[in-house]
Amino acid sequence: MCDQTFLVNVFGSCDKCFKQRALRPVFKKSQQLSYCSTCAEIMATEGLHENETLASLKSEAEKVQKKKAKRHCFVLHQVAERVEALGQFVMKTRRTLKGHGNKVLCMDWCKDKRRIVSSSQVCHEHAVTMPCTWVMACAYAPSGCAIACGGLDNKCSVYPLTFDKNENMAAKKKSVAMHTNYLSACSFTNSDMQILTASGDGTCALWDVESGQLLQSFHGHGADVLCLDLAPSETGNTFVSGGCDKKAMVWDMRSGQCVQAFETHESDINSVRYYPSGDAFASGSDDATCRLYDLRADREVAIYSKESIIFGASSVDFSLSGRLLFAGYNDYTINVWDVLKGSRVSILFGHENRVSTLRVSPDGTAFCSGSWDHTLRVRGMVFCFPVCERREDG
């Protein structure tokens, strides 16, 4: 049977003319109003100058956009042909963490390279039980003395870590961020005192931890924002976010403006991660591909996909040198990509449900994947067969 979508007709009083009509939602300066169709049409033509019509503006916008897209370019794997191929890796699971009684949704490494914070449907880290059911984001503070997490409660809360058995961790909790929809990602900046959040309400925001004050908000995504990553830049303050609108956007933290946007994915972007040099970032999407976007060239330079990979990539991360890209997928596997050549180096099995989160440790010695099968696995490279016989593996 074919699927049907239904158009919901809301009937009521138009916000402009106040007549009782069938209403359409419209956006005016990011505020949602309900207009009848007549008023909506009038609004659409507001602000036009003498010679302009909507059609002419639209065609001009398209022309300029085409010009931008036309810049002809190479892709990475063409240039990388002369690079020596990687050998064959043997990665083994060295730790399997089974503490969660439920789906693992998110994890982060501590800067001490050994500790991990992870969140699940019911958060049990340090015996803190969160009031909401899905804790979709968590992050370790740079000092290692606090963690932040949040999810369906629309908030991001910071918990100072304590090992005093008499202390009730939940009591010390500080509610920092407030969104109008679920929290999908959070990250501390260079210190324990600022947090960057991404939300299902379509915005990102920067918060002061101590006061809970909103320092800056970032509007521009047309749908839920699902992920973010801070740039490892030496001077600027930028970060990248990815959303359900298939766009990846780079923001200036100081001004709140979007400085660059990339829209080549065919479905929701689940994960974004900067390349170690900070000049590019990778994204993983429900369209089963990962892509590399170069910030200086302002375009996509590589796409990591294979016909046999059908399920979306939920989480991506680079190895220390940026040569390897690890991606966790919803078909329970992890694919390891050669970033330069665009080929898949290895496929790792082991999880029994979708891989929801994946991070390389801060010193690059291992990577950890968390899954809906209630476990976290830390894997390291045991062996690397040198290239003597190359397998035809895509």
């Binding site: 659409a44 839920d224 065919e266 190895s319 690059g364």
Partner: protein, 456 residues
């Protein structure tokens, strides 16, 4: 009989691209020429037509996608778990066995088509007008699968008439699979389960009214994008090659690490040798300071040596100033006025103890901005000093005897000798949590305002 997984509520099928892709794979598997070999499978005493064996499925997938058998088996298993292929033996477990176990394909698009086809066959072309339209449209839509639809229709009609054992078995397996996929038993993983609903944000289901405003913003955005200085592609791409080439030996997941990877060998030596503040940094680490100014500053040991070097050149205040600015940028909001004042007193005021040499224009603008202090008020000055260090002091540092000496002194750890008895169990000790360690005097490594040049 509806086949395949029904989409869970709250998520349109359009939003699940993997289902469409699986369908395409399954359809191509059923192609009469290129698809998996179909034959009549013998199941005990019954003969089931149009079935495939598990091993044939695996072989076909491995060949079609050029992947290993392990991966083909995994892919096939996923198809079974989603109900696109159902087992004829032991239907209670949705597994793909790479042997002679028989399987069949669900006809995903069947529903309406099968119903109409049955009606057509039964009543010999007496479909009413709209039914005929529907029938034709469906025929066009699933042309390649039409034979299968007809086959299924005929079989269902026959089954209804005769209720033969083979048909009953097939139908039972189909139904079993359907329920296992759509209503999994409590402990079994539910392949259809999705995370919390997305697109619940109002913006996603609303078509933004494309007003003049919208287009003007678009035009402005694209014009800005066109005008932006773009680096030539070839340069950008080459940069990846050189970055990866330079960092490769430093990447434990690519090149391993000495003496051994602590996760693999359970030996902490690597971590001890590479602790944030260690008296004798390894050779690789000292080399990294030469890769970029950022690498040098990010390493506490590197930064300390650089500070010493600057001290010898009487420009240590530059680094201290930079550190103070970092502290301001990433500090608590309530601290901003205090920190700005402190920086001004120490570094910017005329006659200040550690006055930094900024060009007059930047200094003027900065001092002007100090009347209304905010966390970014020192950005320009900070950038100026940063660039000064990067372009001037840093290259000199790399050429200095001090750095060369450090490089020469730094050692390469020996690879840990392999243990004779590899199964010896080594007790694993928890590392002390940073939360337990005495809190450092200053957050991170910024200590520009504490006076002195040393790092805590």
């Amino acid at each position: 009989m509806a086949a395949g997984p029904a989409p869970p509520p709250g998520r349109l099928r359009a939003q699940m691209p993997h289902l469409r892709k699986m369908e395409r794979v399954v359809v191509s598997m059923q192609d009469p020429d290129q698809g998996v070999k179909m034959r009549s499978q013998r199941l005990l005493v019954t003969v089931i037509p149009h079935a495939v064996t598990g091993s044939d499925v695996v072989q076909w997938l491995a060949q079609k996608f050029c992947v290993s058998e392990e991966e083909a088996l995994h892919l096939g298993a996923v198809l079974v778990q989603h109900g696109y292929i159902y087992p004829l033996r032991d239907p209670r477990s949705l597994m793909l066995r790479p042997d002679e176990t028989p399987y069949r394909f669900q006809v995903r698009l069947g529903g309406a088509a099968i119903y109409l086809a049955k009606k057509n066959i039964r009543k010999r072309g007496t479909l009413v007008d709209y039914e005929k339209d529907c029938y034709d449209r469906l025929h066009k839509k699933i042309n390649h699968a039409w034979d299968l639809v007809l086959m299924q229709a005929r079989e269902q009609l026959r089954a209804a008439k005769q209720r033969r054992k083979g048909d009953r078995l097939v139908i039972a397996c189909q139904e079993q699979t359907y329920w296992l996929v759509n209503r999994p038993p409590p402990r079994a993983p539910n392949v259809l389960e999705q995370g919390p609903g997305r697109g619940s944000c109002a913006a996603s289901r609303v078509l933004m009214t494309k007003s003049a405003d919208f287009y003007k913003r678009e035009i402005e955005y694209f014009r800005k994008a066109l005008g932006r200085t773009r680096v030539k592609s070839s340069i950008c791409l080459e940069a990846y090659l050189s970055f990866c080439g330079q960092r490769g030996p430093h990447d434990p997941l690519v090149s391993g690490c000495l003496p051994s990877n602590p996760w693999i060998s359970d030996d902490d030596a690597y971590w001890v040798m590479n602790a944030p503040t260690v008296a004798a940094p390894t050779k690789l680490r000292v080399e990294r300071w030469g890769f970029s100014f950022r690498e040098l500053l990010e390493d506490p040991v590197g930064r300390a040596h650089f500070m010493d070097f600057l001290g010898k050149e009487f420009s240590g205040e530059n680094l201290s100033f930079w550190e103070a600015c970092e502290e301001l940028r990433y500090g608590a909001q309530a601290q901003v006025p205090t920190l700005v004042d402190a920086v001004y007193e120490q570094f910017l005021a005329p006659g200040a103890a550690r006055w930094v040499n900024i060009d007059s224009r930047t200094m003027e603008q900065t001092l002007e901005g100090l009347h209304q202090p905010h966390r970014y008020v020192l950005d320009d000055a900070q950038l100026h000093i940063y660039m000064l260090m990067k372009k001037d002091s840093y290259p000199r540092f790399l050429k200095s005897d001090m750095y060369k000496g450090l490089l020469a002194e730094a050692g390469i750890p020996l690879e840990t000798k392999r243990r004779v008895f590899p199964f010896m169990w080594r007790p694993r000790h928890s590392s002390p949590s940073p939360a337990l360690l005495p809190t450092p005097v200053e957050p991170t490594a910024a200590c520009g305002l504490g006076g002195g040049d040393g790092v805590a």
